[in-house]
């Protein structure tokens, strides 16, 4: 679904990483770890076309990301659900409307039941009518996850989706993602939470990648 071929990226200064290869096969489950500032978020942004690689090739659903115009990127985004690290919402819309936003902008009408179900899953039923600034940190993260999956996208990229929720809730969110993976969705999660990775590995054959010192490596058995 998403392939990175010999990719490098730099924000103008030194290269953040180079000669990086990654292939997300359909239905695969990946974790991405690495120290803060290693470039995990940057890597995810390359995967959903927000950034363009400074070298190498990124292929999204078979198409070269560099050759896409903004409309093509917009269409690709509808097939990729993204949980942004600093969850971004439209602050003037309700949580429910924010979660339904991907449907809205692609011209579909949100099925009320879909939204309600999803709100129940992430435990935001009571907060459905609040606006995002009226949510707690953890609630915002859950809303971001709900928004990422509402379109039932082929690929889900989640950047630190459980940094602000307690252990119990993070297991529950993990269960949701595992469920989606069983339905054939491709999933990539960037996280620092090793316990999250451990529980997941018990239930699915997840691959753990570590981004460190400009290189992406398969993490050993030390997890």
């Amino acid at each position: 679904m998403i392939e990175l071929d010999n990719v490098a990226y730099s924000y103008g200064g030194a290269e953040l990483f180079s000669a990086l290869n990654l292939s997300l096969a359909p239905g695969s489950f990946h974790f991405l770890t690495g120290p803060s500032g290693a470039g995990k978020t940057t890597l995810l942004k390359l995967c959903y076309g927000e950034l363009t690689a400074t070298a190498g090739q990124v292929r999204l659903f078979g198409a070269d990301a560099r050759a896409m115009d903004r409309n093509a990127v917009a269409h690709i985004r509808r097939r990729i659900g993204v949980v942004h690290q600093d969850c971004q919402f439209l602050d003037h819309l309700s949580v429910a409307e924010n979660i339904a936003l991907p449907l809205t902008v692609s011209g579909r009408t949100a099925q009320p039941t879909d939204v309600t179900d999803l709100l129940g899953w992430v435990g935001l039923t009571r907060q459905a009518a609040q606006t995002p600034p009226e949510l707690s940190g953890g609630e915002r993260q859950r809303a971001a996850l709900a928004r990422a999956v509402i379109m039932s996208p082929d690929v889900i990229l989640a950047d630190e989706p459980t940094g602000n929720v307690d252990a119990e809730m993070s297991q529950r969110l993990m269960a949701l993602l595992l469920e989606l993976n069983k339905m054939g969705k491709t999933i990539l999660i960037a996280t620092h939470d090793l316990s999250l990775i451990r529980t997941a590995k018990a239930q699915v054959s997840a691959r753990v990648l570590r981004l460190k010192d400009r290189k992406l490596q398969l993490a050993g058995a030390d997890l």
Binding site: R70, A74, Q88, L90, L93, L101, V105
Partner: protein
């Protein structure tokens, strides 16, 4: 056709996209207010422009094309000299027509000075003859010479002294009106562009989120364009209405040498102000569209 369809599309609008862009509060009111104020002023400038246009026409045609012949003669000889002068004038090349003013006309001209009941018949008041030139004009010196020979009591006053500054003043006034119109249109376009840009800059976060969830540029742009166009249209329509009403309430100044006679609109000129809101909407549409697409491009 395509333009037409796009416009209709736009005005039909997409309530969903409209919801996605937050209400822009103060920028909105600022836009409506600017459009209102500018339209109001534009009505005045338009009226000034049309009035000076008319005035310049009148002055240049009436003043530049007419001369006056004045015949002072003993009472008994006036008629004879008048006929002689008219005969001379009829054979002068460059004179389109010439005619003696009637007693009533002369009395009207003199009324400000002698009162309305001047016994003009009994006074040896000079007989006036109005000469209308054709486009080419006549040879003033030649005519003077012929008149001196044939009509000794005639004095030709060809208004040359007055003509030049009046015509110049009229055309400069008309220029002033047109320049004000251009200034106002330019200032309005600049204001709306800046307001649209301010709204877009304030909504960088909204644009980022919309992009993140897969919205296309035109979807985002449309919400902004629609808003600003409607705002400019509304504000300008209200401003035009108010300006037109104000013009209606203006004193009908038939005084002061008729200078201001026409600051209202006349006849079909009343249709001119209708152009203002339409123009404002078109300007807003173009300005916002440009600003939106440029901002969206920059923020990619």
């Amino acid at each position: 056709m395509d333009m037409m369809r796009r416009w209709l599309d736009l005005l039909a609008g997409d309530p969903q996209a409209d919801r996605a862009v937050p209400p822009t509060g103060f920028t909105a009111r600022l836009t409506v207010l600017s459009a209102f104020a500018m339209a109001f002023l534009a009505v005045f400038a338009l009226a000034l422009s049309l009035a000076t246009g008319r005035l310049a026409d009148r002055w240049s045609s009436e003043l530049a094309k007419t001369s006056t012949l004045r015949i002072s003669a003993p009472v008994g000889q006036v008629d004879a000299q008048r006929d002689a002068a008219l005969a001379v004038l009829q054979t002068t090349p460059g004179v389109a027509s010439a005619r003696a003013l009637t007693d009533d006309e002369q009395r009207a001209l003199l009324a400000p000075w002698f009162g309305p009941d001047l016994p003009i018949e009994t006074l040896p008041v000079p007989q006036l003859i109005e000469i209308i030139e054709d486009d080419a004009g006549f040879d003033v010196a030649g005519l003077r010479a012929r008149l001196q020979a044939e009509v000794p009591g005639a004095v030709l006053d060809d208004h040359t002294r007055w003509r030049a500054p009046l015509v110049e003043a009229a055309s400069r006034l008309r220029l002033l009106g047109i320049v004000s119109m251009i200034l106002i249109a330019g200032a309005t376009a600049a204001m709306i562009t800046l307001a649209a840009n301010a709204a877009l800059a304030a909504n960088a976060q909204v644009i980022r989120v919309m992009r993140l969830v897969g919205a296309q540029d035109i979807y985002i742009a449309r919400a902004f364009i629609r808003r600003f166009t409607l705002r400019a249209l509304t504000g300008a329509a209200a401003g035009t209405l108010a300006g037109t009403l104000a013009i209606l309430l203006l004193p009908r100044t038939d005084v002061a040498g008729g200078f201001l006679t026409g600051l209202g609109f006349q006849g079909w000129h009343w249709l001119w102000p209708l152009i203002i809101p339409i123009l404002a909407a078109v300007v807003a549409f173009a300005a916002t569209r440009h600003a939106a697409l440029r901002t969206l491009k920059e923020q990619s």
